[in-house]
Amino acid sequence: MTKKKKAKISPRVKMPMQDPAKRGRNFTEVALGYEREMAVNEARRCLQCKKDTCRNGCPVEVDCKSFIRLVAEENFDQAFRVIKDTNSLPAICGRVCPQENQCEGTCKLRPTGHPIAIGRLERFVADNFYARNSCEQETGFLECVMPDDNLKVAAFGSGPSSLTLAGFLAARGVKVTIFEALHQPGGVLTYGIPEFRLPKSVVQREVESLEHLGVEFKCNFVGGMSITMEELFSQGCKAVFIGVGAGLPRFLSLPGENLVGVYSANEYLTRVNLMHGYKFPEYDTPVPKGKRVTVFGGGNVAMDAARTAYRLGASSVKVVYRRTKGEMPVRREELEHALDEGIELEILASPLSFHGDEAGSLQKVLLQKMELGEADQSGRRRPVPLKGQELELETDLAIIAVGTGANRVLTQTTPGLKLNKWGNIEVNPSTGETNMPMVFAGGDIVTGAATVVEAMGAGRTAAREILKRLK
C-alpha cells in the first residue's frame, strides 16, 4: 500500500459513551453502542481483504469479513446469522472481548491505528437483532430445532464455555442440561463482570435464547456434590462437559489480610453483581462501602472492583500495582475508562501488611516501593523492592484482585480425573477430552484464568468433538 492510500483511511467511528463525570457514580452501561448509521459507516471502512486475518484472530472464528460486509449492505439479520454460526454469545463478546488483541489486533488496518471496530459492530448486530422477538430471531436459525432426548449431554458450570457448548450442540439437536451451583446462570458473566460493562439483561437474553433452543438450566446444583458424574452417566448422559471456571480467589498471605475490610475481588463483585448489594437494604446482601479504597492487581478484575467502589461512593480509589501502567494486563480501553472516571494508580508498589484498629477493622496498608529490574521469564521487567522505601496508605476497604485458582469442588469429588500441578484439569487440546472417556473440560478450569472468548473457544472445540462422537 502506498503512503497516499494510507492517508485516505478514515478514523474508526467513535463509540458514544456516557459522560465520565456522571457514569463514575452510576451502574448504567458506560459504552452506549453504535447507532445504525455509525455501524454502517464503520463497516464500510472494511477493506474486505482477500485473506481475512481477523477471523484467525478470533478464538471462536467468527467470519468477521462476511458479517461486516453484510452490515455495510445494511443486511443486519443476515449478519447476525453469520456471527451466530460460530459465536453463541455475540452481545457479550461484543462488549467484553479483548478485541484489540484478537480480531482487531490482526486487522490489516491496525498499523494505521484505526483497525475496523469489529467488536463494536458485533455488539451492534447482536443488540439490533435481540431488540426484536421470535424464535428465529432469538436463535439465528430459521426454525427452532427440537432436541433429541436420546442425545443427552450435561455441562457443569454455566459460564461462557458451557453456554457456547450448549449453543453449538442444541442447535444441532442435542439435549443439553447445564448445572449451575449459584442461583442464576452465567458464571463470571453474572457474578464477576459489573453491570456498567456488561448489563445482566444482556446475559439473561443470551441464556433465554439458549432456553428457546431447548437447553435446560438447573441452578443450585453443585457438580460433584448435588449430582455426580456417575449419576449423570447412569441417567443416560452420553457426554459430560466441565466448565466450572477458576473461581478460587488468591490472597496475598500477608499479615492482617483477614481483618474486617479486606475482601477478595470475587466476594466484593459477587456481593454487588449477583446479590445486588448496591441496592441494600432493598436487597438483603450488604456490601462494604469504603471511603478510601485500595485495590491490588492490574487486570480487568482489579479495574472492575475499583470502578465499582467508586460508584458505591468512595471518595478516593487507588489501584496498587507492582509494575508500571504499561505492564498492566487490563484492557487498554477499560484502563482509560477507569482513569477518566477518577480512579488513581499507585504503580511500582506492592503491599507488605494490613493494619487495623482495636476492633479489628482495616485502617491502613503498608506498601513497599518497587523499581523495574531485568526481564523475567514472562518477558516483563521484574519488579524489585526499593530498599527502605515504604509508603503508608490510609484505607478502610482493600480489595485483592491478584488472580484466581482452580475451583476444587468438582475435581476433589471426582476421583480419577487427571489434574496438573495447579489443580487444573488436563485435556487433549484438540478435542477437549479429559483422561476420563466422554468427559470433556474447557475454559478457566483447564487453562487457569483467561478471557471469556477463550473459554468460548474451548466450549466450541469440545462441542464439535462430542457431536462427532454422538452422530
Binding site: 451451583a181 449459584l182 442461583h183 457474578y191 441452578c219 443450585n220 446444583f221 453443585v222 456434590m225 448435588s226 449430582i227 455426580t228 473461581g247 478460587l248 480467589p249 490472597f251 498471605s253 489480610e257 483477614n258 481483618l259 474486617v260 475482601y263 477478595s264 470475587n266 466476594e267 459477587t270 456481593r271 446479590m275 445486588h276 441496592k279 441494600f280 437494604p281 432493598e282 436487597y283 438483603d284 446482601t285 450488604p286 462494604p288 476492633a359 479489628g360 475451583n407 476444587r408 469442588v409
Partner: protein
C-alpha cells in the same frame, strides 16, 4: 415438589424451629457435616445452614435454624407447604468418621442440631457416642430425645441449673475427660466462644478435637473467600476446606471478629423487617 417444606416443628417458640424439606438430590448425597445454602426471595441473601439429618429413602433433609437476623426471621414465617426459592447442597467436606470406639460429641445451643447429624453418623459407623450438650435452660435444650437414642451417655449442663450440671458444657466435658483418660476424639459444634473454650479444655488432655465453623458465606462453593479462617497460620476456606477443622489450630478470635463484619447492616435489615412485618 422440590424444596417444599413438608414438616415444621417448633422447638423453641419464636427462636428455633426444624424444617423437613423435600430435596431428593441433596438427601441422596448429604453426609454428616455437610451444609446447605439457601435463599428465600429474589431479593434475599444466601445463608448457610447445617444439615441436621437426612432421609434418602424419602428424599428429605432436616434443617434447624435459630432466628438471628432478617433471613432467619423471614424463614420463620414459612409454613408447611411453602417452597424455599433456592436450596443448594450438600456443601462442605463431610465429617471424617472412622470406627474407633468412642467419640465425644459436644453441642451448644442451636449447634446441637448440627452435632446431632455427626453423632448419628458416628453411631451408624459403630462408635459409642457420648453426647455433651448445654443450653441456657432446660427448655432451650435441643435434640435431647434424639441424642438419647443414639448415645451411650448424654451429659447435660444448663446455665441456670434447671437440668443437669449448673454451668457450661466445657465443665462437664472436663470432668468427663478426667474420668475417661482414654478418650480419643471430641467433636464440638456451637457458638464460637464455646468452641474456643472446648479447644482449651481438650488441649490439656491432648485429645484430637474437631470444630465445625459457622463463618459468613456468600456462595458457599469456594468462590468468594468470605468464609476464610486462619488454621495453623494459613488461610483456609470454611466452605470447601471445612467446615470442620482441628480445634487446636483455629484462630477463634479472628473468626469472631470476621463474624461481626456486617453487624450494623444486619441490625438495620432486621429493624426494617420487623417494621414491615408488624401483624
Amino acid at each position: 415438589m422440590i424444596n417444599k417444606i413438608l414438616k415444621k416443628r417448633i422447638l423453641i417458640p419464636d427462636r428455633v424451629s426444624e424444617l423437613t424439606i423435600h430435596a431428593p438430590h441433596i438427601a441422596r448425597n448429604a453426609r454428616p457435616g455437610n451444609f446447605v445454602v439457601l435463599r428465600l426471595t429474589p431479593t434475599g441473601e444466601r445463608i448457610p445452614l447445617t444439615i441436621a439429618d437426612r432421609d434418602p429413602d424419602n428424599g428429605t433433609i432436616v434443617i434447624v435454624y435459630l432466628v438471628l437476623g432478617k433471613s432467619t426471621a423471614l424463614l420463620d414465617t414459612f409454613q408447611e407447604g411453602d417452597i424455599i426459592l433456592d436450596l443448594c447442597g450438600p456443601l462442605g467436606r463431610p465429617t471424617e468418621i472412622s470406627r474407633q470406639g468412642q467419640v465425644v460429641c459436644v453441642g451448644g445451643g442451636t449447634g446441637i442440631a448440627a452435632m446431632h447429624h455427626i453423632a448419628k453418623g458416628n453411631y451408624e459407623a459403630g462408635n459409642s457416642v457420648v453426647s455433651v450438650i448445654g443450653a441456657r435452660s432446660r427448655d432451650l435444650l435441643l435434640f435431647k430425645p434424639e441424642l438419647e437414642k443414639i448415645s451411650s451417655k448424654v451429659l447435660i449442663s444448663t446455665d441456670d441449673g434447671s437440668l443437669g450440671h449448673k454451668g457450661f458444657v466445657t465443665q462437664v466435658l472436663e470432668m468427663f475427660l478426667k474420668e475417661n483418660p482414654g478418650t480419643r476424639e471430641v467433636v464440638a459444634v456451637g457458638p464460637v466462644p464455646m468452641m474456643k473454650a472446648v479447644a482449651k479444655v481438650t488441649s490439656a488432655f491432648e485429645v484430637k478435637t474437631v470444630v465445625s465453623l459457622n463463618s459468613i458465606m456468600v456462595d458457599g462453593v469456594g468462590m468468594c473467600g468470605a468464609c476464610r479462617v486462619s488454621v495453623a497460620g494459613e488461610t483456609r476456606f470454611a466452605c470447601v476446606d471445612g467446615p470442620e477443622f482441628d480445634a487446636s489450630q483455629v484462630d477463634f478470635d479472628e473468626l469472631m471478629n470476621r463474624l461481626n463484619a456486617f453487624r450494623s447492616q444486619e441490625e438495620l435489615s432486621m429493624k426494617l423487617f420487623k417494621k414491615s412485618n408488624v401483624k
